[in-house]
C-alpha cells in the first residue's frame, strides 16, 4: 500500500523532537499504577481481603493534602510509587512562587510546606488534624503549615502531570464567593467513594443528571473530581465555608494559576 503524506510525516519524526513528555509521563505513570493495582489484587486473593477493604486501605495509606496559604489541595486515593517523590513548597508574599524539590533536599526537616498568608484571617484551628496536618498562627496575618514526618506531603512527578487537567478545570470555577480552598480528589473508576454509598459510576451519573458534568474528568483509570470551595468545605469539615475562608478568593486563584503554570513547565526527572 502506498504511504500517505501523514504516514510518511509520522514515520520521519526526528527523535530530537520527541520532547513532548507530558503525555508520555502520564501514560507511564498509568502503567505503573495499573501494575500496582494488579499486585494489590494478587495480594488480596491471597489474604482474602475484600475489595472495599482494599480500597479503604489504599485511601488511608495514601491520603494526602496540600495546604497552600489559604488554599488547600487534596489529592487522595492515589497509589504512589516508592521512588521519585517530590515535595512542593509554596511561598506566598510580595511575589507568588512555587517550587518543587526532590525529597532528598528537604530531609530531615519534618515541616515540608510553609505558607504565609498576608491578608487572610483564616482561623488556625482548621479541623485538619484528621489529615495528620497541623496549622499554627505565627503572627496576626501569618500562618505556618507543617506536617509531621510521618505524613509528609508528597507528589510523584507523574501525579503532577495527572493533576494538570484537573487544574485546568478550575479556571471555570473562579469567581466571587468561591475562594478559600479547593479540593481535587481521584478515585479508581471501579472503586467506591469513601464518603458515599454510591459507586463512582453512580456518582458520575448523578453529576451528569444534575448538570454538574464539569466537576469531574476521567483520565485513564481514574475519575478526578473538582470540588468548589463550598462543596469541599462541607465535604471535609461538615460545614459551609466561612466568610473569612471565602475572602481568601484571590489567593486561591493565584494558587491555582501558579500551580497550573508550574505543572505546565514541570518535567519529571525520572
Amino acid at each position: 500500500m502506498k504511504k500517505t503524506i501523514e504516514q510518511r510525516l509520522l514515520s520521519a519524526r526526528p527523535e530530537s523532537q520527541h520532547g513532548h513528555a507530558e503525555f508520555v509521563a502520564r501514560t507511564v505513570n498509568a502503567v505503573r499504577t495499573a501494575q500496582t493495582n494488579e499486585t494489590f489484587e494478587q495480594l488480596d486473593r491471597k489474604t482474602g481481603i475484600t475489595k472495599k477493604e482494599r480500597f479503604m486501605l489504599k485511601l488511608k495509606r495514601t491520603a494526602r493534602i496540600l495546604l497552600i496559604g489559604g488554599a488547600a489541595l487534596a489529592i487522595s486515593g492515589a497509589t504512589y510509587a516508592a521512588a521519585d517523590h517530590y515535595v512542593l513548597k509554596w511561598h506566598y508574599g510580595s511575589t507568588s512562587m512555587c517550587t518543587i524539590e526532590p525529597e532528598s533536599c528537604v530531609k530531615p526537616t519534618p515541616a515540608v510546606i510553609v505558607g504565609k498568608d498576608e491578608k487572610s484571617s483564616v482561623p488556625a484551628d482548621w479541623k485538619i488534624g484528621q489529615w495528620g496536618i497541623s496549622a499554627k498562627s505565627t503572627g496576626q496575618y501569618h500562618l505556618q503549615y507543617s506536617v509531621s514526618s510521618e505524613n509528609k506531603i508528597y507528589f510523584t512527578s507523574a501525579e503532577l502531570s495527572l493533576a494538570q487537567p484537573a487544574c485546568d478545570l478550575t479556571k471555570n470555577q473562579s469567581g466571587s464567593g468561591r475562594g478559600g480552598f479547593f479540593w481535587i480528589t481521584r478515585y479508581p473508576a471501579d472503586g467506591t467513594m469513601d464518603t458515599s454509598p454510591l459507586s463512582v459510576k453512580d456518582e458520575v451519573a448523578l453529576l451528569d443528571s444534575s448538570g454538574h458534568k464539569d466537576l469531574y474528568k476521567k483520565i485513564g483509570n481514574y475519575y478526578y473530581y473538582l470540588m468548589t470551595p463550598q462543596t469541599a468545605c462541607t465535604a471535609i469539615f461538615g460545614r459551609p465555608a466561612t466568610d473569612a475562608e471565602n475572602a481568601a478568593g484571590p489567593l486561591w486563584s493565584k494558587t491555582i494559576q501558579a500551580l497550573t503554570d508550574l505543572l505546565a513547565t514541570f518535567t519529571p526527572s525520572s
Binding site: L10, S11, V28, A30, I219
Partner: protein, 172 residues
C-alpha cells in the same frame, strides 16, 4: 533504535523502557483516536488506556505474528468503538483499516526520512512548517497550535492542508 522485538523483550525485564514505545507511537495514535471519536481530550484518554492495556498484555504479544503498532492500534480502535457505543454516537468511517494505516508510523530508510525532513524544512511560508512540526512531530493539538500562534483554529487547519499539498508535490 533497537529492533522492536528486542525492545519488547527489554521492556518485559524493565518496565521503564516502555516509555520508548510510548514516545514512538503516541502522536499517531492520538491522531487516529481523535479521528474516530472527534474529541482530542477523549482521544488522549483512549490512547493512554490502549498503551496501558497493551503493556498489561505484553507478555502475550508475539512479535513474529504482528507488528506492535498494528496490535496497539487495534486495541485503541476497539476502545474508541466502545466509547462511541456508550455515548450512542456514530462515526462516518468507511474503512477503519484505511484510517488506521494513514496514522501508523512505519519503517523508513534513513535516506527517505531525510528527504521528508528536508521537504518540511523548505515549506513556505514558515507557518506551514511550524504547523506540520507541531502537529505531526511534537504531538500538539490544533487548539494548542492555534493558541500558540494566536490564530483561529480553522487557520491552523488551512495551514496544515496547504502544507500537505506542498509536501505531496515535493515528494511525488
Amino acid at each position: 533504535m533497537m529492533d522492536e522485538a528486542e525492545l519488547i523483550k527489554a521492556i518485559l525485564e524493565n518496565s521503564d523502557r516502555y516509555a520508548e514505545l510510548v514516545t514512538c507511537y503516541y502522536v499517531g495514535l492520538i491522531i487516529h483516536c481523535e479521528r474516530l471519536v472527534g474529541d482530542r481530550d477523549e482521544a488522549e484518554d483512549i490512547a493512554q488506556e490502549a498503551f496501558v492495556k497493551a503493556y498489561l498484555q505484553l507478555e502475550r504479544f508475539d512479535p513474529s505474528r504482528a507488528r506492535f503498532s498494528t496490535w496497539l492500534y487495534r486495541i485503541a480502535t476497539n476502545l474508541a468503538i466502545d466509547y462511541l457505543r456508550v455515548h450512542k454516537r456514530k462515526v462516518e468511517v468507511e474503512d477503519i483499516e484505511t484510517l488506521t494505516e494513514t496514522t501508523m508510523p512505519t519503517f523508513l530508510e534513513d535516506e527517505e526520512k531525510l528527504t521528508i525532513r528536508n521537504a518540511v524544512a523548505e515549506l513556505q511560508p514558515l507557518e506551514y512548517r511550524r504547523a506540520i512540526e507541531a502537529y505531526y512531530w511534537y504531538g500538539k493539538s490544533y487548539q494548542q497550535i492555534a493558541d500558540e500562534a494566536g490564530v483561529p483554529i480553522n487557520t491552523v487547519r488551512t495551514w496544515l492542508r496547504r502544507a500537505k499539498l506542498q509536501l505531496k508535490e515535493k515528494l511525488s
